[in-house]
């Protein structure tokens, strides 16, 4: 067993890290403070290969895998978890098109999605409750070769900037009255389709989260992503695998920020004539953050490697559950190590904590993850 990255992956990481240090780190605090979505950086993310890192070269991507994709998310999230949210949700929509889309859809949309000229999104959650996916109400009715879509989505990342959004709709009911779902791609500017309210979030600022409103939106049947009626498994697979591995990578980035800032502060802050890093109570907090970080790293890249190998399992949920809780824990530990400075917005500790809390519900709350983990465990063990 060898947990090392390859030489090529290490080079990729340092390339992403250099980019993040130069293009993200200096501005991240400002984006957070002003809740500013830095759309100007998106073409640069495209040039770096981050927008289409896992998309085959023939569609304009880098042709790498989900391990490399998670590396990109970790490095972006190290400085701006908000921006990483935009990138991850874009990946989520791209993955749906790549895995289930038609050749025409791939050729039409993927090149722009890779070069950063078109941001993608995936809209599932509705005001009626994100956890209850089967209960969603947005309705799509097929008449001839045209879908008519009505409904409202909420908490949708990239709601106000996506060029294409893959929307999970209810397209019918089976004989037992259960919803049949279909995923349909809707382009920005389609009549009747518009972003609604933009949420003012606690954290993860620097990414849009908001409503999408659909009023008699007419979409050609060619925009159906995957088979008609297969929307539920498609949505659950992308959210469950790409989504949860991504959220893990973003939270891992936050954890690394906590670790680096904790070590720096503890070494520099002098109390009783010596750095507080000499105090055992501080050392114990640093040990906790380090353990959380290392476990998170293994779980994230294990999940990503499973995705690359086409394996399925509750490991995606375990990673998302453990790491999202660990990130909150680490941010709190950091804040405490820093004393009063931990709550001053000049330092990043407060931002890490706000971002970590905002990561908790995304791609399924901790309760939902635990239900999945327990379900698999009780079946398998």
């Amino acid at each position: 067993m060898d947990f090392r990255f390859t030489e090529e992956q290490e080079l990729l990481r340092s390339a992403f890290a250099d980019f993040a240090k130069e293009e993200i780190a200096p501005y991240a605090a400002k984006w957070d403070e002003e809740d500013y979505v830095p759309m100007g950086i998106v073409p640069k993310l495209g040039e770096m290969g981050i927008m289409g890192v896992f998309v085959p070269e023939e569609y304009g991507g880098a042709g790498l895998g989900h391990v490399e994709r998670c590396m990109a998310l970790e490095e972006v999230a190290r400085y701006s978890a908000g921006l990483a949210m935009m990138v991850f949700t874009h990946h989520l929509g791209v993955a749906a098109i790549l895995d289930y889309g038609t050749e025409e859809q791939k050729q039409k949309w993927l090149p722009g999605m890779c070069d950063g000229s078109c941001v993608c999104g995936l809209a599932v959650t509705e005001p009626g409750g994100g956890s209850d996916v089967a209960g969603l109400k947005t309705e799509a009715v097929l008449d001839g070769d045209t879908w008519t879509i009505n409904g409202r989505k909420c908490f949708i990342t990239n709601s106000h900037c996506a060029g294409v959004t893959v929307v999970t709709c209810k397209s019918g009911e089976d004989e037992k009255g259960r919803a049949i779902m279909t995923t349909i791609a809707i382009e920005k500017g389609t009549e009747g389709f518009a972003p609604g309210r933009e949420e003012n979030k606690l954290g993860l600022k620097g990414s849009f989260t908001g409503e999408l409103v659909m009023n008699d939106v007419k979409v050609p049947v060619e925009n159906t992503v995957g088979e008609i009626g297969k929307g539920m498994p498609i949505t659950m697979k992308e959210l469950g695998e790409v989504g949860r591995a991504s959220m893990s990578a973003i939270e891992l980035g936050i954890l690394r920020g906590c670790l680096e800032d904790a070590v720096k502060f503890a070494k520099e802050r002098i109390l009783y004539g010596k750095p507080i890093s000499k105090l055992q109570a501080i050392q114990f907090k640093i040990a906790d953050i380090r353990c959380d970080y290392e476990a998170a790293r293994l779980m994230t890249y294990n999940a990503a490697a499973m995705k690359d190998a086409g394996k399925v399992g509750a490991e995606f949920s375990m990673a998302k559950y453990f790491i999202s809780e660990a990130a909150v824990r680490a941010a709190r530990n950091l804040s405490e190590i820093m004393g009063g400075y931990g709550v001053v917005n000049e330092y990043a500790a407060g931002r890490y904590l706000r971002d970590a809390i905002c990561c908790l519900p995304s791609c399924g709350t901790s309760e939902i993850q635990k239900m999945i983990i327990a379900g698999e465990t009780l079946k398998k063990w």
Binding site: L11, A15, E22, E47, V53, A62, G63, A72
Partner: protein, 292 residues
């Protein structure tokens, strides 16, 4: 056109506090130091890549090949890969324990011989241009580029902050038939001096010449298919007396850490009032020859 770029791995400047120096040999223990591509080497490569894209954009079938060359331990293979990912077309690493412990003289000799071997291997007559970083972040001697040029009998210019390839008599007859001329500008304390010289030549560039591009995921994937050659002394067959520690006339003297601590003196205590303290400061400055 073929451009050779000399690149060097150096200990990561962000981790200088971790650097160990062997007290006997007085050399950096490089095996332990996390290495990065020297920032000036990156500028040299960026300059070569910029020229490459200009040359290739100027005419559809013009080709400009950029070759990266380094002498370093084998663990630095990834630094050559980094050059390929940035856009170099081929990379060569000269790596042999026998090259170790070299001063700038022996290093430049190995690099010059490596350059000749590349010409033979690639079936080239000469490089049109050799670019190097003016000085590395670790040694900072600025010796190696000019020494390589001397070994190869090439004209050279150091501390270059602007570089252009011009075609002689370019007016009206762009490209065709014109002899390429290197126009290199260096900054002195008083002025900018521009030198013009026919190819081939070696220029050593300073870090303000450009901002090196980021390496992209696509660049890294492309690098997989590019040739990366590692040569040992079995390939180069250089005289052992001229390489490594044996070929190095430089002998390091004493190693010392200068005392940069600054002690303060509280003059108010000695002389009472602030006005007296001011007078005392003035007297001290005068004693040091400062102030009228």
């Amino acid at each position: 056109m073929v451009i050779l770029v000399l690149v060097k791995p150096v200990p990561d400047p962000e981790k200088y506090n971790e650097i160990q120096i062997d007290p006997q040999t007085k050399r950096i223990l490089r095996q332990d130091a996390a290495a990065v591509l020297d920032p000036a080497s990156k500028c040299a490569l960026e300059e070569a890549l910029r020229i490459k894209s200009e040359v290739e954009a100027a005419s559809g079938d013009a080709r400009c090949e950029v070759i990266a060359l380094s002498m370093a331990p084998q663990t630095n293979r990834d630094k050559i890969l980094e050059c390929l990912a940035m856009g170099a077309d081929a990379g060569y690493l000269l790596s042999d324990p026998a090259f170790g412990g070299a001063d700038t003289y022996a290093t430049s000799y190995v690099l010059a011989e490596g350059a000749k071997a590349i010409l033979a291997a690639e079936e080239l007559d000469a490089f049109d241009l050799i670019i190097a970083g003016n000085e590395s972040a670790d040694g900072a001697t600025s010796h190696v580029p000019v020494q390589v040029a001397e070994w190869l009998g090439l004209p050279h210019l150091a501390r270059v902050c602007e570089l252009q390839i011009q075609r002689e008599g370019a007016e009206g007859q762009e490209g065709a038939g014109g002899t390429p001329v290197i126009a290199a500008t260096k900054k002195t304390e008083e002025m900018l001096l521009t030198f013009r010289c026919e190819e081939p030549a070696l220029v050593a560039v300073t870090r303000d010449i450009n901002k090196p591009r980021h390496i992209s995921a696509m660049g890294i994937v492309k690098a997989r298919k590019k040739p990366l050659t590692i040569w040992t002394n079995d390939d180069l067959k250089l005289d052992e007396a001229k390489i490594g520690a044996a070929g190095s006339p430089t002998k390091a003297g004493e190693l010392m850490t200068p005392d940069l601590s600054r002690g303060g003196r509280d003059l108010t205590e000695e002389d009472g009032s602030a006005a007296d303290a001011a007078k005392a400061i003035l007297a001290l400055l005068r004693k040091e020859g400062l102030g009228a």
